[in-house]
Symmetry: C2
Subunit: 451 residues, 2 copies
């Protein structure tokens, strides 16, 4: 919902609740605001199913790759990250679409790779059951392997363009994948020449054991929900260790925890904003959704009691395992009642919420950055567009003054912004272009599909 990441944001006087997520002019303006702040990218969560109760809050989203193409046309630098599922797509179609967005945007595309842990999605694609967590991740790994082969199916210099001889390109520089695997058989080359970034930045957000292994193997950026500095540090350390085990340089994998800032002129004003938002959550809806995530009956979750003691273990969960564990641990650690837990989840949905002045938000960001718990942050304003405008106009200048964030864009592609090199083609011995690392990185999400 594009009125903000807090589920009640649409009920504020400032919000226009009318189909914000399908209003392309509104989405384009959000992207332009993020670009004005020199943020690295905008990011769209997504899932191929109508998850939400339309009674509860603004519903209705557009398919994000076409949204990014429309945003690319009115921006020039901001990175463009779309979520797409490896479980409910074919590699040929999806690799082609992301390569196309990378061409259209001049090298600004990113793909947030998800396996889609929702029964509702499975039932839109001919299945009665959610595929098992393990099988979804096995398919995801093979999907990415195939996509990489497709993105490398053209060398960078296929074109010869000899009009005189009537020879346009060199067929020897085309390399059809001829992939035969467990989940996919894909014979031919992509229709699309190798793109400005070679392929989209690979992003991942799963925090389960399988998810972390997938990220360690392939991802260049990882979005993660972490409530405490210690948890965030442990997560980043674990992920980078796993990347080393896969033979990778851990500097090529950026960890980006989410933060839900609520910014006020004073700390008291920010807190009052947050309290107003929490007051506007309708607990009966939120409780039903919590009950679904926890696989219990809503009646087993009285609003003013803590969570019941006898919840299923993570191993029994086939859906979003890491999200399940995060919620249960948050509730147990802080001994939250169901009502308090709902307030926390309705605001940040498991992400760190922080209310304060612009200076205080900058402090909160710097604290994690200095501790090595984050390579950057996924900024998820509680209310949009005002929360993004506040961040860009008030917090970014503080970070820039402290030398923690760029004053201007120094590159043109999304990998440039993240300080990552363009992947070399396997047949190219000159290697990829390497550029310096930027001080910190920041993205913004404005479509939360993880309910």
């Amino acid at each position: 919902m594009s009125t903000g990441h807090h589920e009640a944001s649409w009920r504020l006087p400032e919000s226009d609740p009318s189909y914000r997520s399908t209003d392309i002019a509104y989405l384009q303006r959000l992207a332009q605001t993020a670009e004005r702040g020199h943020l690295d990218s905008i990011f769209f969560a997504d899932g191929p199913a109508l998850f939400r109760d339309v009674g509860r809050r603004p519903s209705g989203t557009l398919e994000p790759t076409v949204v990014l193409a429309a945003i690319a046309a009115v921006t020039s630098r901001i990175g463009l990250i779309a979520t797409a599922s490896t479980t409910y797509n074919d590699p040929y179609n999806l690799a082609r679409r992301f390569a196309s967005v990378d061409h259209i945007s001049g090298g600004r595309a990113g793909w947030n790779i998800v396996t889609t842990a929702h029964l509702e999605a499975a039932r839109n694609f001919g299945r009665d059951d959610l595929p098992s967590h393990r099988s979804r991740y096995e398919r995801a790994a093979e999907f990415i392997d195939v996509a990489l082969k497709l993105w490398d199916s053209w060398e960078d210099d296929v074109e010869i363009g000899d009009k005189e001889a009537g020879v346009w390109g060199d067929p020897a520089r085309i390399h059809p994948p001829e992939h035969v695997g467990e989940h996919f058989r894909v014979a031919g080359a992509l229709t699309t020449p190798r793109s400005p970034q070679a392929y989209p930045l690979l992003v991942q957000a799963g925090s389960s054991d399988d998810g972390k292994d997938l990220a360690a193997r392939y991802a260049e950026a990882v979005f993660t929900a972490q409530q405490t500095l210690d948890d965030a540090l442990a997560f980043a350390t674990d992920l980078k260790r796993r990347a080393v085990e896969w033979g990778r340089d851990p500097a090529g994998l950026l960890v980006l925890p989410g933060i839900v800032p609520v910014i006020g002129a004073t700390e008291a004003e920010a807190r009052a904003k947050e309290e107003e938002l929490d007051r506007l959550i309708r607990p009966e809806y939120a409780r039903a959704q919590l009950a679904k995530t926890l696989r219990v009956d809503p009646d087993d979750l009285p609003l003013d009691r803590e969570l019941p003691a006898d919840l299923p273990s993570e191993d029994e969960i086939e859906g979003a395992k890491s999200r399940y564990t995060l919620i249960v641990e948050l509730a147990r650690r802080e001994r939250l009642t169901v009502r308090q837990l709902i307030g926390r989840l309705g605001g940040g949905r498991g992400h760190r919420t922080f209310s304060g002045t612009a200076e205080q938000v900058a402090d909160a960001i710097q604290e994690w950055w200095d501790a090595g718990a984050a390579d950057g942050f996924n900024i998820m304003p509680a209310v949009l567009p005002s929360g993004l405008e506040d961040f860009v106009d008030q917090v970014v200048p503080v970070l820039v003054d402290r030398g923690l964030f760029r004053r201007e864009y120094t590159g043109t592609t999304l990998r440039d912004h993240y300080g990552l090199a363009r992947p070399a083609h396997p047949h190219d011995r000159t290697g990829g272009r390497d550029i310096g690392r930027v001080a910190t990185t920041t993205s913004t999400t404005h479509q939360g599909a993880h309910a």
Copy 2:
């Protein structure tokens, strides 16, 4: 290839053969030229496989739905038609993407429905063989049925937007398809609210018996390759008769033959342009492709002889049946040598080629229009961008003066341009909005994937 519909267009001095089809700024300018001429739409052919020999001519295309989204952002009226395959997509994903493009463009989306008759495509999606012609068309019909259910899964007025009560929408106005069929099971509603046009204009181009039945049942516009007025008239008459058999008003189905205009200041100049283009075709490539279409060995097609007498019958062809028949009939009717046939196909690929002055091109269009052989035309310039500019600047004014074409856009959606009503929702008793028919309709194609 976006240097024009003639396969040798890229070899002309005016052409830039460097990845024109992946240069979004170039494609956006073509669309703006078409919009300047008040054409109904632009149209992208497509197939999920690299069909072409990259040695032969410029290759490499982008996925067209994302291209259209990027074009939508820099245009306001021109319709945006993309080809997509029912054989190699899932209905949920594709319905959602077209609904999204319709939202993004303010109601300008069209879907050219194809079943994709290429073994190369099958092999990119885990198949060893091309599915049979019949089974592809059965799947296509069910695919469209599911897509229509998904596009009607939201009523037009789901939103309530009651901030006070905290109720955003009315769940009773959401209608999950719960579709269970031969090829698909799709349970849930689309993520995307009903779009400005309700759903994209449905376009079809198959001219086989199965193809014509599919068009008669669902299509609102049909692209067709017809060489003679008599053939075009017979085709249009047959198609409209079939539409009546499906219980439809034949006025809701527009037949748009392709025309490949080569425009010169004099007739001699136009003919010289066409001859220059034909001279630039490399016959060895073209012969290999012709041999593949005809399912014979290239050595059985000497360049200066007519086609062999013993070709397979259309019934034995599982690929593009109607195209096969068109080629064979064209060669037999005009007793063309293989070399002459290659010249015709390299220019218009089975479509009517017409060289002459702007007045003569307008005459050629008017002749078919007056005879009732066309409801409009698919303009396929031999050379781009100059051929489109010539058409817009020289032919359109003649058609406008003759009262055959609009002077300004009178509507905002693609259906408005075609004189078709917005489809009513099945639960809406007030019916669709009806608008007057325009005098004639014209589209332009600029990416030929049918080789």
